[in-house]
Amino acid sequence: MADESPDSSPLGRLGARLEAARARERNGGQDEREASGASRSALALGFRVVTEVVAAVGVGALIGYGLDHWLGSTPWLMVLFLFLGSASGVLNAYRAARHHEMRRARDGRKDG
């Protein structure tokens, strides 16, 4: 097949192919992999942030409802805990995003 190559022994041809594959990887592979990884992790981060907010508000409402039911103070504690839940939802989202940022910064340093 590749008789014109300098070394036409099976091992030599394999070496040439490996070298070509490595060159391809160095040029294009890096960007491609990074882009797909970034969009996937962005999707995951987006989902994470959304569920953190929803879960915190839900848990706040649930605690408030439970306490109201127990203490008979309907609906004041639920209102209070909805606000607290919203606050912790934002806090959770902020932490998730910050964690992601810190991780990205660290990975960037490691690569470059």
Binding site: V54, V59, F81, A87, S88
Partner: protein, 244 residues
């Protein structure tokens, strides 16, 4: 045509009742047993050869091991090694549950919020106990940020408390919604194939192509969500061991 949510129906296979509580062996339980059996078979049979240069199966098992071990090292640190068996089991159980659910006519046990919440609750309770073991009563300082004035505790402690308690819910809801939504989407698209295809058979090709694309996406999501579930468990473990 079957409803898109019919696939999530729990069917008792062996009806059982203990003390008035329905503990029937269901299709969900059957899938969990199959998944656990497959995990054990996969890991034990693939490394039976103990080859220095791994074959296909052995390298698959080794990739799983290396992946989870790397995740623990990166997110928890060297102290995390002790919890490797638990984290690895968790990862494999969620991963196999998600992937087995992609096989037609099977059942996705991770598409039920009570199952994912059960897993998340184990993580949450376990992590809380680990936190108290490592820090004693000082673990409660987690609810009071550093350097905040004592007066602010009135507001900050409830917020941190709700934030802490919302962890198992966000873990459970994320996995369950991802799996449920994906499966409903697949089923709805498959329904379009039939209804459009009955008008003229070529019309059915469009939703079929879309369904095939969604199938690929869902396979990716199945692995990604198993990863996300495990990596967040690792982060919670990290927070419990090294309080910030």
């Amino acid at each position: 045509m079957a409803s898109p949510v019919e696939q999530f129906k729990i069917k008792p296979l062996i009806p059982l009742e203990v003390g008035g509580v329905d503990v029937s062996f269901t299709n969900s339980a059957l899938m969990m047993v199959i998944s656990a059996g497959l995990i054990i078979a996969f890991l034990t049979l693939s490394v039976r050869g103990r080859a220095l240069v791994p074959g296909r199966w052995q390298s698959m098992a080794e990739v799983c091991y290396e992946y989870v071990a790397g995740m623990l090292r990166e997110n928890v640190g060297p102290e995390g090694r002790r919890y490797f068996p638990f984290i690895f089991t968790l990862f494999m159980f969620v991963l196999f549950g998600n992937l087995l659910g992609m096989i037609p006519y099977s059942f996705t046990y991770t598409s039920h919020v009570i199952v994912t919440f059960g897993l998340a609750a184990v993580v949450f309770i376990g992590v809380t106990i680990i936190g108290f073991i490592h820090h004693g009563i000082g673990y409660l300082r987690l609810f009071m940020p550093h350097g905040a004035p004592a007066v602010a505790a009135v507001v900050l402690v409830p917020i941190e408390l709700v934030s802490y308690l919302s962890r198992p819910f966000s873990l459970a809801v994320r996995l369950f919604t991802n799996m449920t939504v994906g499966h409903i989407l697949l089923k709805v698209m498959a329904g379009f194939v039939v209804s459009l295809g009955s008008i003229f058979f070529l019309f059915g090709a469009v939703p079929l192509a879309f369904d095939a694309a969604v199938m690929v996406l869902e396979l990716g999501i199945a692995v990604l969500q198993a990863y996300v579930f495990t990596v967040l468990s690792c982060i919670y473990l990290h927070d419990a061991i090294h309080m910030h």
